[in-house]
Amino acid sequence: MLKEILKILENDARTTTKQIATMTGLPGTEVARQIKQAEKDRTIIKYKAIVNWQKVENEQVSALIEVKITPQREVGFDSIAERIYRFPQTRTVYLLSGTYDLLVLVVGKTMHEVADFVSQKLAPIEGVQGTVSHFVLKRYKEDDEIIEGKEEKVKRQPVIL
């Protein structure tokens, strides 16, 4: 049942305990307990809104940075990854298979700011062999939600027997 609760919350984090109780047939107290436990053990990390910043004239620039690194003895990629993800400018950090090792999403106010961060903070880290920056031009879809694109709402007939 935890899975079902998580699915409902992942789809809409504002679904109330009471609503979830109705949808799952569990008592409200049990739903509340399971959510609390999930929050405690970080099964649920956080509740956030998906914002389309383009709508509020809050210009921000994001870039995906490919980072090639030399793994270090005993700690592998983890310690370098940690040095990188501790920077608040990095929003997402993944270790990947393939031609480079880390993929880092960096967000800043201007292209300059992002470029500075990459050249002055990211690239000089010991073990980083090289970086390739890709600036984001348009966000079509993020976290399962369409950001820039066609809304799929078509008007239905009001009554169909």
Binding site: Q19, T22, M23, E152, Q157, P158, I160
Partner: protein, 397 residues
């Protein structure tokens, strides 16, 4: 423009057969609805999803390739093969794709073909009341007589075998059932269906089973009539893609039946329709091949909303039968003392919520309204809040 159908028939000599069936009984309600803004509709009998993208994409690709020609009258061989495999997987029933399956323009066409293929003037078809609005007219248009069997909330809106048997005459040709049911959301248990099957076999009647909602059951199993022992030879199984795969607008369905019946239905189909639309057939192939995951997701979501709807209706104080299939709740509104059409009209005028009066589905739908929960959770909750105000204002207790 005159709205009196009689006047039209005199001027244009509309056939007796066409005059025999009435237009939807709630015309006035539709007109009222069309003139209003800000209405939350629980009256829509279709999924609120667009067709899953992979299905749409397959159809688009077929158009790009130029797959725009007629198909065989029976439907594309690949679709019939996939369908045969699908039915075999689900019910362990074998239908020969070459002679026992016919692809139609929705279940609606399949139902019409079935009636036209088996009925002679005066033949009787026994069916439940309340039931989907097309059942009775489809019999009438084929010259037959629909014989209604009341089903009630007390009996979970299941059709009783004894009630059927009591209405069998020497003119009875078939029993028409449709479970999971529109408008009640009722599902027939295997045992009850088996009793009906026995009656059909005893009296050598056909069972025409509209199983368009077969995929949409919640926590219970759907039983296919044709899969009951010995029933394949006396069942016309009707199914489609509209509800399960959210493909209502594609108009694509099928009939599975003994080859003599399919042959007769195909004759009528080839002269009236030729073949179901090619694009829709391609989409249906993709749905059968790769649609299971999308269907499972939609079912899980309907189920959540079903529970919210039913609990909400009960909290309002309306007694609500537990619907186990389709996407309808069918609460009783008898406590308000209003007939269902008046309830629906007043609810629309006073609170701007559209529900369908049960009387639209037959005499025994009176006292109920159909509420579809295939709409957003937010809309369901707002509609319930409005209905609560309305019912507490009108409750006669």
């Amino acid at each position: 423009m005159s709205t009196n159908p009689k006047a039209h028939s005199q001027k244009y000599h509309i056939s007796q057969r066409a005059n025999q069936i009435s237009p939807s009984g709630i015309r006035r309600f539709f007109d009222l609805l069309a003139s209003m803004e800000g209405v939350i509709s629980l009256g829509v009998g279709e999924p609120d999803y667009a067709t899953p993208w992979h299905i749409r994409e397959a159809a688009i690709y077929s158009l790009e390739k130029g797959q725009t020609m007629y198909t065989s009258n029976l439907g594309m061989p690949e679709l019939r093969q996939e369908l045969s495999r699908h039915i075999k997987n689900k019910y362990n029933l074998e239908y020969d794709p070459g002679s026992e399956l016919l692809i139609t323009v929705g279940v609606s066409e399949a139902l019409d073909l079935a009636m036209r293929a088996i009925l002679d003037p005066g033949d009787e078809v026994i069916m439940p009341d309340p039931a989907y609005v097309a059942y009775s007219p489809s019999v009438v248009l084929s010259g037959g007589n629909p014989i209604m069997v009341p089903t009630t909330e007390e009996n979970n809106f299941e059709l009783g075998a004894a009630d059927i048997e009591a209405r069998i005459t020497r003119r009875t040709k078939a029993i028409l059932i449709g479970y999971p049911a529109n408008p009640t959301g009722a599902v027939m248990s295997r045992d009850k269906l088996a009793e009906i099957a026995k009656v059909a076999q005893r009296h050598q009647l056909l069972v025409i089973s509209d199983e368009i909602y077969a995929a949409l059951v919640y926590g219970v199993e759907h039983t296919c009539v044709a899969a009951l022992p010995g029933m394949k030879d006396s069942t016309i199984l009707l199914g489609g893609f509209s509800k399960a795969y959210a493909m209502t607008g594609w108009r694509i369905g099928y009939a599975a039946a003994p080859k003599e019946i399919i042959a007769a239905m195909t004759k009528i189909h080839q002269y009236t329709i030729m073949c179901a639309s090619t694009m829709a057939q391609v989409a249906a192939i993709e749905a059968l091949k790769a649609g299971d995951d999308s269907v499972a997701e939609m079912i899980a979501d309907y189920d959540r909303r079903r529970l919210v709807m039913v609990k909400g209706l009960r909290n309002i104080g309306l007694s609500c039968f537990e619907p186990e299939g389709a996407f309808y709740a069918f609460p009783s509104i008898k406590g308000t003392g209003m007939p269902s059409d008046e309830f629906a009209e007043k609810l629309l005028k006073e609170e701007r919520v559209a529900v369908v009066p049960g009387s639209a589905f037959g005499e025994y739908g009176e006292g109920y309204v159909r509420c579809c929960y295939a709409t957003s959770l937010a809309d369901i909750e707002e509609a319930l809040a409005r209905m609560k105000r309305f019912v507490s204002r009108h409750q006669k207790d």
